[in-house]
Symmetry: C2
Subunit: 211 residues, 2 copies
DNA sequence: AAACTCGTTGACTGACCAGTCAATCTGGCG
DNA sequence: CGCCAGATTGACTGGTCAGTCAACGAGTTT
């Protein structure tokens, strides 16, 4: 797996970045390896010098980014001084910022990997499960601390939380929701509020029936 | 678009059902049209007698099922006597039962269509948007009736709700959660509780600090 | 029974494309 | 310089597969 750049340019990185663009634009299955090579401004064969197959490129993109997220989740959970709600806010914030900074990459990961895990190896399923697990850890901490209720299992709660975030990203990816800086920031708080406090108005606050 | 069966058997239906099985097992992109034909016990060419392309089969499967769901959501929303919470329970129940009764079909729809809407025409995006819209209508009704809070928009709330459910199905599809009758039933209530009441323990109920 | 309709068959083709490979280039080193 | 290692090139191949099509067959009509 050679990595040393001939001149100042890391061609391997160039190919990975080109793949992000191309996979995001045309979809993994609808693009050719030559599209990636062209986008990278590199000869067709060079792609196979650095990667053993088209799928390995996708693999690499996924694993690289996913690991960063797993580490971030673990780091957030380790900050014992934070209340759960803020930990969850940090997690939502991290994922949303990931999309803000690298929308194409996140699009590829969500559209081509996260929901297509059957086409790929069990490797990815394991990694995805780890993310659930990390969030579940945070929830578990909140339950132990008496901040979260016990009626909903940590795993189930983590799933709802992650599901809401992924749906949010999907909505952005498919242009069903506006993508402005303000919206990104607002969404962080909203998703935490929705999941932590729920949608229901507390009975005490409800208007009288004759209202 | 011919439909009349030669003998008692509707070959078109046979092909559609075979496609569900094959798409679910190998994935849309990783199976051949001949796999579908074989599974249906039908000649290769007959597939093209009833459908103009491989994609049209997937189209048909998606639209057929999705429309049923859209109608169900609208029907649930129309039952004015129900409180929002029960409407949402009905929606969650409908989708979960859809998976219980036709796991392969739901797997295909979620894995190949719902999250891959970029590969397909805007037709599907519109339909998916309609589902969000239908749920948002229900939420909107709940807000008008003073049952749900106003701080979270109906669209955003609908997205969280649908996202949680889809993540739940995904977890079943990829075998990350047990799939028993009891689990299916329990999940219906849990997802509504999580989304309506949230995960947080009301402050009043929290144990004392010196607990 | 001849003619017609249309469901049904499966071999075939034409295009596409992932992956290979032999040749070429470039820079470093003795 | 002469040689080597590794980066880079792009034409080529081998296999795959979606979609076509000419022929066949089983009812139906006249």
């Amino acid at each position: 797996m050679p990595t040393s750049p001939r001149n100042g340019v890391d061609k391997r990185r160039l190919i990975l970045d080109a793949a992000i663009t191309v996979f995001a634009r045309k979809g993994f299955h609808h693009c050719r390896v030559s599209d990636v090579a062209d986008e990278a401004g590199v000869a067709y064969g060079l792609v196979y010098h650095y990667f053993s197959s088209k799928e390995e490129i996708l693999n690499e993109l996924f694993l690289e980014r996913w690991q960063i997220m797993l580490d971030a989740i673990a780091a957030i959970d380790a900050r014992d001084e934070l209340p759960v709600r803020e930990k969850l806010y940090e997690v939502a914030g991290f994922i949303i910022d990931s999309y803000r900074n690298q929308p194409d990459l996140m699009k590829v990961i969500i559209v081509e990997v996260t929901r297509a895990a059957n086409s790929f190896g069990a490797l990815h399923l394991g990694k995805i499960r780890e993310a659930y697990g990390g969030i579940a850890e945070i929830v578990e901490g909140g339950r132990r601390g008496g901040e979260l209720k016990e009626t909903i299992s940590a795993d189930f709660a983590a799933m709802c939380f992650y599901g809401a975030i992924e749906q949010l990203l999907s909505a952005w990816i498919f242009d069903l929701l506006p993508q402005t800086e303000a919206e990104f920031e607002r969404a962080k708080g909203l998703v935490v509020e929705a999941i932590c406090d729920g949608l229901a108005l507390p009975v005490a606050d409800r208007p009288g029936v004759s209202g």
